[in-house]
Subunit: 368 residues, 2 copies
């Protein structure tokens, strides 16, 4: 390890990763394009054979009347919430304090739509029924993110989902699913996408996370919601003349990976158990409930980074390129299992975790 080597640089250099589907490079699109007849006509502002049949297929997959393809989930979700707020005549929307809308969208929900988010529960827990029943005023809509990405992809019990859904229906509160990673949780719940979606009035699904497409999202719900969403999509500047680079790749990788989620989930559980065997490491959740989890390491950055870099250089396996800080002073990183893990030789995985255990053990003994 040279003094100049940063964790990110060392990570990039490794041949193997245990996260993701491989590099996000132009080949991801070329692979799709190679399968498509060049004479096939572009969609035109949301219409045409490269977009509408895929929307219909996703509506059916999600068990909803209709669906519309968006360039991004940010756009899809703000729009769904705005429509529900307008319908209910209140600007209040309930969601988790670490919701994508709250921390990754520069406040679009407030600045563009004038909505008033109500933060349910605290940062480290998933939303439970009582977080909703105890609200003094009913919001127009509750958004549930399944799994809750920023806390390692945790999930409420399925019974809780059913109770929340029943309560919201009884109270006239719309229930929206941030299902960016919906497919990834189906093996844990042992449900179909349509079964989970049936608990919700509107559902968003992303195509570049577990599915590994280029970009894009689906919003599904009843016909009236989707019809209004198309008007808002145009207002947002999302009704592009051509979305086919995204729709075609979404469809391609959806077909390729929709049935792989159970495998990723099993592999995530195995990987998490390897991490949990190391001193001063705990995964969140302890046992993953999807293809993802967070690794929390009780170590100092200037100690942990050289350890990881050594492991990357010795094994050619990259574990993470980034270490975040948690509120309680530990370091963390995210693991998302995809196609890449299957390409890592078993002996490489074993070697990397053996080194990680040993090096953390030494650190522990030295008390650094």
């Amino acid at each position: 390890m040279t003094a100049q080597t940063t964790l990110f640089e060392a990570y990039k250099q490794t041949k193997y990763k245990h996260t993701g589907h491989g590099p996000r490079n132009v080949n991801v699109l070329k692979t799709v394009m190679d399968e498509i007849d060049g004479e096939r006509l572009s969609d035109m502002y949301g219409n045409g054979r490269t977009i509408n049949p895929f929307e219909e297929k996703m509506a059916e997959f999600l068990g909803k009347e209709a669906a519309v393809f968006f360039p991004s989930g940010t756009m899809a979700q703000q729009i769904a919430l705005r429509i529900w707020a307008d319908e209910k005549g209140t600007k209040k929307i309930g969601y988790h304090p670490l919701s994508h809308l709250e921390i990754h969208e520069e406040n679009g929900i407030r600045e563009l739509h004038g909505l008033e988010p109500v933060l349910l529960t605290d940062r480290n827990h998933v939303v439970e029924l009582e977080d909703i029943t105890k609200l003094e005023e009913n919001p127009a809509c509750i958004l549930l993110e399944l799994p809750q990405r920023e806390i390692g992809g945790q999930l409420p019990s399925y019974q809780t989902l059913e109770q929340i859904s029943a309560y919201c229906r009884e109270q006239g509160i719309k229930l929206h699913l941030d299902g960016a990673r919906l497919l990834e949780i189906l093996p844990f719940y042992q449900k179909t996408a349509a079964e989970v979606s049936a608990l919700f009035d509107s559902v968003y699904l992303s195509f570049y996370k577990g599915i590994g497409g280029i970009a894009g999202a689906i919003l599904a719900g009843d016909k009236d919601l989707i019809s209004q969403s198309k008007v808002w999509k145009r207002r947002h500047g999302g009704d592009l003349i051509s979305l086919y680079p995204y729709t075609l790749s979404a469809d391609y990788y959806f077909e390729q990976r929709k049935d792989q989620m159970a495998l990723y989930y099993e592999q995530a559980k195995t990987l998490a158990s390897f991490y949990n065997e190391c001193p001063d490491i705990l995964t969140v959740p302890r046992e993953p409930v999807s293809n993802m989890f967070h690794v929390h390491v009780n170590a100092k950055r200037d100690v942990l980074e050289p350890i990881l870099i050594d492991i990357y250089e010795e094994t050619d396996l990259g574990l993470t390129g980034f270490l975040g800080d948690t509120a309680d002073g530990t370091l963390y990183f995210e693991v998302n299992v995809g196609d890449a893990y299957a390409n890592v030789p078993q002996i490489t995985v074993e070697k990397a975790f053996q080194l990680l255990r040993e090096k953390l053990q030494k650190m522990y003994v030295k008390g650094v």
Copy 2:
């Protein structure tokens, strides 16, 4: 001609068109992808080698400090206007009554941004200096669309542009260029893109019109505007993880077509003169000032459609697939000259216009 044949169907069947760059099919993207190294990494949320160098190149081309790529012009322009309105502390924005924002964006400017458009001039004229000087209250920003697409691509004189620019600067009114078709007007004005842009505080340019890319737009201006625009781009849901299908194709076709605009302009003037030799036809403008013009035909739909369909079937040249109604009871369609025209055999063009002249003459004599 069969009774069932519609104008649009007959148009689609023709081998040649005198408008556009050819079919908007998947080959438009494949052609670009074939030139790109598959190992090249995707942009990531607005950063990376597939987006930033192109933004810098376009900033330089437009003579501005900075530029940011957007998935759509709808998004880019609303955002520029919002930033100028916030800076000036007034919600008023002045533009033409047939501006894209007014008629094609489902009122996003009002519904998303709460701005208050002031419609300058009447529908059939371009914005002149006095349309601005006579305003009782200064708006935050004036948007000029050059050329004014919905009235055939008309332009004010360059002197008028200079006067408007000087007046706006003096009055502290921001001036924004809807330059969706900026390249297309440079041969008429005999100016560079940077020279025209220098009259404006912010400039938008589209990549799928004269340039013929897949989709996407550039917004250019000073560093502060562009920095704020990136925040709003995220709020709008336009800060996609990957925009490279659009940025790479924008760059490719920009290079391919930026120097073709003078040719398209000359061809448009020739084509317009052919139309103007026909009875009951007038082009708007009479002599084009870009690659585009509108054809106004003083005829009834049920008379003109069969005439056009006959010509398409006899010559294999499609003139238009669509006839619109003007306010004064004539029919009209748009002509945009691009690469396709050069592929039409000269004899086919001559034959088509000979037929059009003869058939309209007969109609005229019969008094239908």
